[in-house]
Symmetry: C2
Subunit: 430 residues, 2 copies
C-alpha cells in the first residue's frame, strides 16, 4: 500500500501545478465559485459543490464537479448520464486499516473528480511496482464525475458485534428497511458495508473510478455487488428534458431539483442535531434493484400503460391535465396509478430525491432481457421518505404487475469532505 501514501501529496501539490495532460487543474476548480452549477453545498451554506471548468468546451462531457464541499457531490448535483454503483464488504477487523483505506480512497476520489490520474499515474512511478492508476481513463475528461460514499448498517454491527467501535454512532434512521409485499430480494444484490456511487457522463470514467477504489482497497474490502446503469431515469434539472425509463414514460417530472434549497433542506439533507453529529449535512440512500418485465409491458395497450402510470406516454401530462409540469389532479388518476400512490399528497408529504438509472444486464436465460430500474433515492430520513411511500406502493400500485424488487440496500451518506485534512468517514471514525 506504500504506493498510495504519496497520493495525498500529489493531489495537494497539484493545486499550484498545471495539469500534466491539458486536463483540469484543481486550482481552476476550487478557485472558481462563480460557476453556473453551485448547488448542494451552497444550499447547505458551505463551499460551492459544483463548478464547471472554463478552459474546455461547454457541454456536459467536459465538465468537472468539485469534490469538496459541505455536502457530498452526487446527490443534488445535476444527474449525470451513466452510473457505476458498487457495494463493498469490509474483510478486515483492523480499524486502522479501514481508516487508512478511507483516507486513500478520499485522495484518489478527489484526484479523479478533477480529471487527474491517481498518484504517479498509470505509466510512471516505480516500473517494478504496479502503477498507481490503472490507466483506462488517460486522456478522458472527468465528465462531471462524482463519487458519493455511504455506510451500511452492517458496518456498525454484524452478528451482534461492534466491528469497529462505532456501534453507538449508528443512526436510528439507518434501521434495516422493513420487508415489503412482493419483495423477492437476492441477498447477493442486497445490503453491504460501504457503497460508492460513481456517476459521470462517460461510463469509462465511472468504471475507472470504482475499479481503482477496489484496487486500492484490496485486502481491506471486497466487492459484494456492483451495478452499471446506462441511462438516468430522473433528473435534478427541471429545465432539461425529462428522461424516460424503460417503460417509455418520462420519469422524475416532480423530482426535487438541485436548485430547490428549501426542499433539499426539508427532505434531503440531515440537519445538525438530528441523529449523530457525523451525519450533519449527510443524507440516507435507498438503493433498490427493480426488475421490469418489459416484454409483458410491451404487449400491454397504450390505455392500460397510461392508466398504470397516471400520465400520458408522449407528453407526460398527468391524466386530467395537459402539460407535463401541470399540477397533478390526484383524484383524476386511477386509484392505483403509480403517480397517484407515490405522490407526496398520498403519503403525508413524504418526498425523496430520485437519482435512478436504467439497466440491462444481458438476458435472464428465459428468452428475456434482464432489464429494469436501479432505483436510487436520497432523503433526510428513510422512515419518513422511502419507507411510507413504498409501503403504499407495494400493496396497491398497478405497476406491480410489471415489476419486482429484487435487490435492496440502505446507506448513511455523511456530509461532504470539507477540507484537505478531511476524509470519507472522518467524522465517524476520527
Amino acid at each position: 500500500m506504500t504506493e498510495i501514501e504519496h497520493v495525498d501529496e500529489t493531489v495537494e501539490s497539484d493545486e499550484s501545478a498545471p495539469p500534466a495532460d491539458g486536463g483540469f487543474s484543481r486550482r481552476a476548480l476550487l478557485g472558481w465559485t462563480g460557476g453556473a452549477l453551485v448547488v448542494g453545498a451552497a444550499a447547505a451554506g458551505g463551499v460551492a459543490a459544483a463548478v464547471t471548468d472554463d478552459a474546455t468546451p461547454a457541454g456536459p462531457s467536459h465538465g468537472a464537479v468539485a469534490f469538496r464541499g459541505a455536502v457530498q457531490a452526487g446527490i443534488a448535483t445535476p444527474v449525470q448520464d451513466r452510473l457505476h454503483f458498487c457495494v463493498f464488504d469490509v474483510v478486515t477487523d483492523d480499524r486502522a486499516k479501514l481508516v487508512r483505506m478511507l483516507r486513500q480512497w478520499t485522495a484518489a476520489a478527489a484526484a479523479m473528480a478533477a480529471g487527474d490520474a491517481i498518484g504517479t499515474g498509470a505509466d510512471s512511478g516505480v516500473p517494478e511496482s504496479p502503477p498507481d492508476d490503472t490507466g483506462e481513463a488517460i486522456g478522458l475528461p472527468p465528465a462531471n464525475l462524482t463519487l458519493t460514499v455511504g455506510f451500511g448498517p452492517s458496518l456498525f454491527t454484524k452478528d451482534g458485534k461492534d466491528r469497529f467501535g462505532i456501534a453507538e454512532k449508528k443512526p436510528e434512521a439507518l434501521a434495516d428497511l422493513p420487508a415489503f409485499p412482493g419483495d423477492n430480494l437476492d441477498p447477493q444484490r442486497s445490503g453491504g458495508d460501504i457503497a460508492v456511487q460513481a456517476c459521470s457522463d462517460d461510463p469509462q470514467v465511472a468504471v475507472h473510478a470504482i475499479r481503482n477504489l477496489a484496487r486500492i482497497g484490496f485486502g481491506v474490502v471486497s466487492v459484494r455487488w456492483s451495478q452499471l446503469g446506462f441511462g438516468k431515469t430522473s433528473s435534478t434539472t427541471p429545465d432539461a428534458m425529462t428522461p424516460r425509463n424503460l417503460f417509455g414514460f418520462k420519469d422524475g417530472t416532480r423530482n426535487i431539483a438541485g436548485t430547490e434549497t428549501d426542499r433539499l433542506h426539508e427532505h434531503v439533507w440531515v440537519p445538525a442535531g438530528e441523529g449523530p453529529e457525523w451525519m450533519t449535512n449527510g443524507s440516507y440512500l435507498v438503493a433498490r434493484r427493480i426488475r421490469m418485465h418489459i416484454e409483458t409491458w410491451d404487449r400491454t395497450s397504450l390505455v392500460e400503460q397510461q392508466d398504470v402510470i397516471g400520465r400520458s406516454k408522449g407528453v407526460g401530462a398527468p391524466q386530467g391535465a395537459t402539460g407535463e409540469h401541470d399540477p397533478v389532479p390526484l383524484k383524476a388518476l386511477p386509484a392505483n396509478a403509480h403517480v397517484r400512490l407515490s405522490h407526496p399528497d398520498s403519503n403525508g408529504g413524504a418526498t425523496i430525491l430520485r437519482r435512478g438509472y436504467s439497466f440491462v444486464d444481458g438476458s435472464d436465460g428465459l428468452g428475456r432481457l434482464e432489464a429494469g430500474l436501479f432505483f436510487l433515492a436520497y432523503q433526510r430520513d428513510p422512515r419518513k421518505g422511502f419507507v411510507p411511500v413504498q409501503q403504499n406502493l407495494a400493496g396497491k400500485d398497478a405497476m406491480n404487475e410489471y415489476i419486482q424488487h429484487v435487490g435492496s440496500a440502505l446507506f448513511a451518506c455523511p456530509g461532504g469532505v470539507a477540507h484537505a485534512d478531511d476524509y470519507w468517514g472522518k467524522a465517524l471514525f476520527g
Copy 2:
C-alpha cells in the same frame, strides 16, 4: 402482429414528410451523399453508407448513419461509443413467419437509424393496442445508431435438420470455430441463430433498438443472450484518439480504418463468387466474451504489463519504437507479447477488423468485478482471419494469465439492404 404491417408504409412515406419532433428526416439523410463519413458502402462501390445531418450541432451524438447501402452499416462505420449486442434463437419452424419478421425488423431498423419512431410511434395508433414503439428513445437523436444482422450456423442446420430450407446455402466459411486451448465457454453466452449488433453513441438508443426488435419478434425469436458494452476498445478512425481497454492500454492502433478501401476489400468484405451469392459484400463476425482478471492485472508491475502487451502503457509505442503509430519492430518485442503474436506478420498476413467493447457486468460473487472485453471482429473468412490468429494466441500469449474466453459465436453477415424492397436476409430466403 398487425400493428407492425404498416411500418413499411410509414417509413417510406416519411421520405416526403418533415420529421415530427425536429429529428432527422429520411429525405435529408438519404438525399445527401456528400457527407464526411462516406465509408463502407462507398468502399464497396455502392450507396453512401454514412452521412451526417447538417441541421443539428456537430458532434458524434447528433449524427445519423444511413441504413441502406451495398454493405451493412456498423462494420466499417466509425465505431460508436456504446454497444448492445443480442443473439436470438428462432423458436418457430415456420419459414414464412421468420421471413415476415425479418421484413418487419428491416423496416423498424431503417426507421430507428433515421431517428424516427417505429410505425405510429409510442403514443398514437390504436390506444387499445400496444404501441408500435416502446418510447424510451422519444426525443433522442439516433446518435449514429447502426444495426447489423448476422446469421449463425444453427439457423441453417440444427441437429442435422435443414430448418428453413437454406442448408445448402450455408457458407463453408461459417464452419463452427475450433476449440482453442484455454477456452472456458459458457453455452448460455455462446452460439445462436441470429445476431443483431446495435451500436450508438447513446446507450439508451442502442438498448431501445434491441428491445424493439425483440418485441417485434415475439413468438418467432427468443433472446438467447445479450451483452452491453460501455466503451469501445478499437476504433476505425485512425486520426482519433485510440481508445483504451480495461488493461489501461491503447487498443486497435493498427486496426483496419473505415477509409482503407483496399484493406477492407482484402480482409473484410466477401467478394462476389466467394461462397454463396447471398454473402456478396457481406462479412463474417466472430464474437468472443473475454473475461479479464483485472484484479490480478492491477497487482502486476508496469514492466510486466508492458512486456505482456508489447507496447508502452502511456504513449502506446511498440517496444523498440517511440511513437504509437510507428511500425512494430516485431523482434524487439518479447516472444510471447500479445502485439507480436497477434500481428499479421506472425500469422501469414491474417488481418481482422476489430470493433470490441469493454464490459462490466456487476460482480462475480467472489469479490471481483465481472469485467472484460466483448471482442467483435469482422473478416472476409474466419478460417483465414480470427482462427489462425487465435490459434497462435491461445497457446502462447503472455496475456493468457490475465484473460479467459468465456463466450463464443460466429455469424455470417450478408451484404447491405440496398433498396426499399430489400430486407435482412432477402438474398438468403427470397
